[in-house]
Amino acid sequence: MFGEDSVSYLSTLDIKKAAIITDRNLLRTEIPGLVKKALPEGADSMVLGDISEEPPLSEMTAHLSRINDFAPDWFLAVGGGSAMDTAKILFALHERPDLSVYDITPLVKLGLGKKSRLVAIPTTSGTGSECTWAAMLTVEDEKRKHELASPEIMPRYAILDPAFVVSLPPEQTRNTASDAIAHSVEAYGSSWHNAFSDAMAEKALELILGGITGVMGDPKNLELRNQVHVGASMAGLAFSNSQIGLVHALGHALGAQFKTPHGKAVALFLPHVVAYNYDACPERYDRLNRIVPEQLREASFSESLENILEAIGQARNGIEAGIAEAEYEANLDNLVELASESTGMVTNPKDAGSPELRSLFMRAFSEERP
């Protein structure tokens, strides 16, 4: 469901007990109230608002006993990627208390959905998590992000209401838009690309690039917010059908090691990976480059991406992203190791081994444009 007041769709669902999973920042806003107001008459609700950004497993599972006591028949994930991924995992563990999170893979039949259902209402534009069967899990003592995935944790409904993103602060707007752009680009370049993912990726990029600079300048513009919001979801559908690549492999590694916000992390690598990949899929990237608004378009797609990211005020090197150079260099081996374990290594259009990963990590940190 998408568009203005699409949250009212909740009133049509057979909701008796809704567990609203949101995060600490949103708890202070009107957003949880908007969701409660949209519930069917007579529905009971609880709000779980103590979710931090990119929470570790231990934090997620600490909430389980409250959830189990309440026994919801609907989980409403209201937030960014962290809240949505947390809701997916809590939903799975509530449905199957015997489950290990590491069983959340496409190969294991989980049998979810017997007690409850999941709806996602994103408040960022965005991770696309509302449309994917993936959930990122941070395991603190491993300093690693696990990519959990199962079709059974995909939300039954995604509600894309622009009222839920209109107050998103500039930093989160640019970070989540950067992530959505990376999703579109990676889905399109993926070695698993197909007609479905291509159609979603191209349209997603068109919508996001056509709206994001306007949103940065006029954040209360509901029409532009709606456009970018829908585009970000489409980008999620795109990569759900063709996977991510090296940008996310590198970005997840950086995020796990340095707790860099995900969108900021992928934005560092995106133009450099595109430049690296170019000779493996030139026509694909040239086609995407034609979607870039003229005032931001360069001869090469990687240069165009640099312009876009600069135009929205995104960090363009490691220092701007808040990472100390000495610490970065000291952790390079760890970063390469983590990145090499990502599934993005296989679906990236061009092969990369440890030397190539190291080079990309170094180039992204520096001032150099690709």
Binding site: Y102, H146, D351
Partner: protein, 125 residues
């Protein structure tokens, strides 16, 4: 099997991608319309190298592996000809995996190089 093991151990990309892998794997080629017997290929994989490789038509003749990757003969032929990706094959039900998917997903590049290596070995179907 010897030829494949030699090729795999000379594959620098495999050595890099599999440098942290520990765990033996059996590939099961299931009989189908194109091949009338089951076949089993056992590989002892350790830190980017293959320490042992055996073939048998009887599974119990081989050591018990940590992982078993199985699929019909026809799908194996497509895999070797790169018409099927090994991980996509799992996700679409063309192949089955016994063993920790979570562990395997961290080494998808190594899996890809193992398939790439088969193309270097002269194979008759």
């Amino acid at each position: 099997m010897t030829a494949y093991m030699e090729k795999l151990n000379s594959n620098a990309a495999y050595e890099d991608a599999g440098r942290n892998w520990e765990g033996a794997m059996t590939f099961m080629v299931q009989k189908d319309a194109a091949f009338d017997r089951d076949g089993y290929i056992y590989l002892d994989l350790y830190h980017g190298k293959c320490r042992d490789a055996k073939f048998s038509l009887v599974e119990t003749d081989l050591p018990t592996p940590e992982f078993k990757y199985s699929g019909p003969y026809t799908n194996w032929r497509k895999l070797i000809n790169k018409e099927i990706d090994p991980i996509q094959g799992l996700l679409t039900g063309k192949f089955k995996l016994q063993g920790s998917m979570m562990k395997v997903m961290r080494f998808t590049k190594a899996a890809k190089e193992m398939v790439n290596t088969t193309a270097l070995v002269q194979t008759e179907f």
